[in-house]
């Protein structure tokens, strides 16, 4: 059964880009462990030779023609932006 340590909890939170304090990380570990432990009852089921099912939709993949039918709506695209300038979204500086 999965036991999520504080460090593991922090790693997951970082991967998910959710800030957690040390204190929160202490609580997240057992909380996630609890849920994952419950989920792990699946392990008892034999699923050898079962094909995974990703989507039940029983249709062919829908396809579009290669035509320009959208875009050219800079105002709409930026309408809800927390910060924008000269047509760009603006974010805190990214350091490569």
């Amino acid at each position: 059964m999965s036991k999520i340590s504080k460090e593991e909890a922090k790693r997951i939170a970082k991967l998910a880009r959710i800030a957690v304090t040390d204190e929160e990380a202490e609580k997240i570990g057992p909380d996630l462990s609890n849920i994952l432990g419950w989920i792990e009852q699946l392990a008892e089921l034999n699923t050898d030779n079962v094909e995974p099912l990703a989507n039940v939709a029983n249709i062919d993949l829908k396809k579009r023609k290669d035509e320009v039918t959208d875009g050219d709506m800079q105002q709409d695209v930026l309408a809800n932006a927390p910060e924008s300038m000269e047509g760009f979204f603006v974010v805190p500086k990214v350091v490569e």
Partner: protein
């Protein structure tokens, strides 16, 4: 009779006969909304918008050029993007988000003449079974416990605002979405009708995505026929949704009132779970008797992988959610918490502040289930189990035409009773998630109040794209149950 107590069908007749105007009908609901603000059903009220739409409807009634839902006031679950109207998903992260576009389902409803009273409360990002995870506060069910009249009951979730508003006569019908039971469970807990159609029946375009392979739009109303009428307009093929089905949408109202004689009703052994309250089992048995009395044949069926449905669901759902919710990053819309750090600091602080505890929990479970080293054990395993669950249903439908089950393992519980125990909360989905995993249609019909005055209902599960049988059988149950209780009128039953 108050205008708010009318059925949609009744209201359309009254409007046509000019017994009242669409503006009057909408105003009556707007007044009711004001009166019952304490239930916290609406996150955003759009009374002015509804009255403008209603005035347009009245013009059409005057000219005789009416639409199918002309003037009918609806509430819209605040997960449907509505052009120019704030759409929050009950989350702080989208508290001030105003879409520049209209979801396909709502545009179809409004094109049919329906009006928009406002945006209905829900569990944050539809993650919950009790409407207690909303950033805008919990919704209170209009129903009361007889034994504890001061106790506030949950309306169910995630479409808790929709269900409570329809039950409380704060709109005539409402949109919902159902990822694991979010229409059928709250419908049951609030004594109304709720339909989740087959996956692919309704377009998902413009509905904030939660778990894309499970999400499906649907409708609430107080009668099966009203629900069928609303579904006529909610369904339909959409080129903008790759998973939307090109199948023709039948007139669902035609199914209402048709005999169910000779239909085979499957009763799954595995749904008789341990610890199921006696009143739930009794209601189920009543349902079986009603269907028998209407000429249906009862068949015992087996859905052997039922017990694995919840864990399967609680892998697939958070996994897809963790990815679907990655776009809420404070860059293009929504909340941004920027305390002068770098881009990553902004992401982490924005998402920590913008998402509530249940959303953060699901994102983390999903992130873990998809992460390197765990993917096969969790996600792939769940996908395989999902196939077994689908195959269970396919086998069962060789023997029956639809399946009858309870919609939820209990009647409405009290606010705060389960919120601290996530697994306890997840168990509320036990009878509904299988349907989403298999992509099938499901209908909840209200049947009675329990001894404590809380609504009970039944769930009907159909074959893929066979909503018609559900409306047919649902209407039969509705007729037999003759459920007339009204949350504000005491023991009407």
């Amino acid at each position: 009779m108050s205008l708010t107590d009318l059925t949609i069908k009744g209201a359309l007749e009254g409007l046509k006969k000019k017994e009242f105007t669409a503006v009057e009908l909408n105003q009556a609901h707007i007044d009711a909304m004001a009166k019952h603000k304490d239930l916290n059903c609406y996150i955003t009220e759009t009374a002015g918008h509804a009255l403008t739409q209603a005035a347009e409807s009245d013009k059409r009634y005057a000219s005789g050029n009416t639409l199918k839902l002309d003037g009918i006031p609806l509430g819209i679950k605040d997960i449907y993007c509505t052009k120019g109207i704030r759409t929050t998903v009950a989350s702080r992260i989208l508290e001030n988000f105003v879409p520049t576009y209209e979801s396909t389902v709502t545009s179809q409803l409004f094109a049919a003449g329906a009006t928009c009273l406002g945006k209905l409360n829900l569990d944050e990002f539809a993650m919950g079974c009790s409407n207690e995870t909303s950033y805008f506060g919990n919704v209170i069910s209009p129903w009361k416990s007889k034994s504890e009249p001061n106790k506030q009951l949950v309306p169910g979730g995630s479409s808790g605002g929709s269900a409570a508003a329809v039950a409380a006569r704060l709109c005539m019908g409402a949109t919902g979405t159902d990822t694991g039971g979010s229409i059928r469970q709250p419908a049951a807990l609030t004594g109304i009708v709720g339909m989740k159609p087959t996956y692919g029946r309704c377009s998902r375009w413009g509905i904030v995505a939660f778990a894309s392979s499970l999400d499906q739009a649907g409708m609430f109303a107080r009668t099966v026929e009203d629900t069928a009428l609303l579904m006529n307009h909610a369904c339909g093929h959409d080129e903008k949704d790759s998973t939307s089905s090109p199948r023709e949408v039948p007139d669902f109202t035609q199914s209402v009132g048709q005999s169910i004689k000779g239909l085979k009703v499957g009763i799954p052994d595995e749904y008789r779970i341990d610890g199921l309250p006696e009143e739930i089992t009794a209601e189920w048995d009543k349902g079986i008797e009603w269907l028998k009395s209407e000429g249906a044949e009862i068949v015992r069926i087996s859905l052997p992988h039922t017990k694995y449905a919840l864990p399967t669901y609680y892998i697939i759902n958070p996994a897809e959610a963790s990815s679907n919710l990655a776009r809420y990053d404070g860059v293009r819309y929504g909340l941004r918490v920027d305390e002068g750090g770098n881009l990553n600091d902004m992401y982490e602080k924005t998402r920590a502040a913008g998402f509530g505890p249940e959303v953060r929990r699901r994102i983390m479970v999903g992130t873990y289930a998809l992460s390197a080293g765990y993917y096969d054990a969790y996600y792939v395993k769940a996908q395989k189990t999902r196939r077994l669950i689908l195959q269970d249903f396919e086998k069962a439908y060789e023997k029956c035409d639809f399946i009858l089950t309870p919609p939820a393992p209990s009647a409405a519980f009290g606010i705060g009773e389960q919120i601290d125990d996530p697994i306890q909360m997840y168990l509320n989905d036990v009878f509904t998630v299988t349907v989403n995993l298999a992509g099938l249609p499901g209908l909840t019909v209200p049947t009675s109040l329990n001894s404590d005055g809380r609504p009970l209902g039944l769930q009907l599960i159909g074959r893929s794209f066979d909503e018609e049988t559900l409306f047919r059988a649902g209407a039969a149950i509705e007729k037999c149950a003759n459920f007339k209780a009204h949350p504000f009128k005491g023991d009407a039953a």
